[in-house]
Symmetry: C2
Subunit: 297 residues, 2 copies
């Protein structure tokens, strides 16, 4: 079973602290660190790790051990919104793992974090206990500075832990979600209005496709525009549905699709489903993929 | 490194012999048996195994050890053409292996087979030493019964081993080839003439696409027709090129493509390249596939 976990930590400047966080993960057997990146403007680091539930839970607890001690939100400044020293911890099902298992892992990890570190924990996305906590932005609104007042409201009682912020480490948002695909479609035009109109048509928040966030941006150095998107559930809204929708809208405006691009990682299944769609492979079984068969045998 | 090897053996009826062949492979450490199938009408068995070169070579030699002893072509009858007890042994690059490595493995295995069992070996497909030996059908023409006369011709001297057939085990064809994709496209019509015309247009032998074999067949129980194909090099002639060609020809005849189907296994890369094509992913790097990244890290 492979689950991915992408902790976001409120430290992107002090390399000695970041290195201690990274080393803490590397010391946990079975927790594989796939990527690390730190942003000094955001004053934030993102670690990408993968493994089985027990290893990931141990790795997250090891991060708290260091972060609660070394990161003080009272003196933290950065461009990115944040609520706690360990700010957000999503668990993501990759191979042989269900969303339910990730929700359970979020709960077990959250309960243990609250117990050991007295940090309040909010559960978000698929692990959310009510609809108002599904979106990270809603939980994080007001940030660390507004957290004490927010938590004084009964509806913002945490899912685990004390009913008030940890003095220096704030609160943590832990949850389960689908892998996210950063997907951009470039248009053979410099008309930013067209990219913005298409983005408005396809994004869910203005009446478009579920699980699609989109904005129109200019790529000024190339003299073209882009519909820049995040696909937050490629099973329910596949890439090919998004591509076809953008292409159809571009047609309407007399604009051609130049190319599309995936930024970062993409689950193999998202590409396979596009092949199934366009090749009309109506009775294809993923068990027919040679490499998968090799791995299962 | 993963190479696939698919030995074809001239025994499909005596289960005790087939079981001994299968057990011989299973005793070789590192040779994973993925599939076995026997056909009594063909009197032939096909084993699918995967592993590193040394394990596959050992497994093929273990098969010869039993087959040369237990299979006598002088009393073998079946519908399928055959030349030897171990009839054909293709090596197929799957992961982290090149075609050159498979050609080398075919040579090393062929030399050892000839040395230990005095069975003459012909190298075919990518391992062929001249163009007349590239196609299996050319080497196998005349079958076991015509082999002595064929080998008396200087141009049919074997690549390894004695210049005459092994008395009971005949000769063996060993080589290296790309994974083969069995790919069918069903048409929403019962007009067999249309399927036959499209097959003739797309297959290489009548002037169509390289690495495509095709025929038109009727699926009488469903009242439709099918363009039934083998794609012998999906890198040089990708599935989407074949699909688009068949669809375009079907359009010409006023016939719709109902669906397509893959029979058996397909390399993931063949599906990924279809996704890249239709989604216009012009700068996609296979390293962006999440599962591959997980496996490499």
């Amino acid at each position: 079973m492979v689950i991915e976990c992408v902790p976001n930590l409120s430290e992107g400047r002090r390399t000695e602290v970041i290195d201690r966080l990274v080393e803490a993960v590397q010391r946990v057997p079975g927790a594989r660190l796939l990527d690390r990146s730190s942003d000094t403007a955001h004053n934030r680091s993102v670690l990408t790790m993968a493994g089985e539930p027990a290893a990931l839970k141990a790795a997250v607890l090891a991060l708290f051990e260091i972060a609660v001690d070394a990161i003080d939100l009272r003196s933290h400044a950065g461009e990115h919104p944040r609520l706690g020293a360990v700010d957000v911890v999503p668990f993501i099902p990759i191979e042989g793992a269900t969303m339910n298992q990730c929700v359970q892992l979020a709960n077990e990890t959250g309960a243990e974090v609250a117990r050991r570190f007295q940090v309040p924990v909010y559960l978000y996305e698929e692990a959310a206990t009510n609809p108002g906590r599904k979106n990270l932005a809603d939980i994080r609104r007001g940030q660390f500075e507004g957290l004490a007042a927010k938590m004084a409201q009964p509806e913002w009682a945490p899912d685990y832990g004390p009913p008030a912020p940890h003095p220096s480490a704030g609160a943590t948002v832990i949850g389960a979600r689908m892998p996210l695909i950063a997907y951009n479609i470039n248009l053979a035009t410099d008309r930013l209005d067209v990219a913005k109109k298409i983005a408005a048509t396809v994004r869910f928040s203005s009446g478009g496709l579920p699980h699609v966030k989109a904005m129109g941006v200019a790529l000024e150095d190339r003299g073209i525009v882009q519909v820049s998107m995040n696909l937050t559930n490629y099973l329910e809204t596949p890439m090919f549905v998004v591509f076809d929708a953008v292409k159809r809208e571009a047609d309407r405006h007399g604009v051609a699709v130049l190319e599309s691009e995936i930024v970062g990682l993409v689950p193999a299944a998202a590409l396979v489903s596009a092949a199934e769609h366009y090749l009309q492979l109506n009775s294809f079984d993923r068990g027919q993929i040679l490499e998968d068969k090799l791995r299962r045998t």
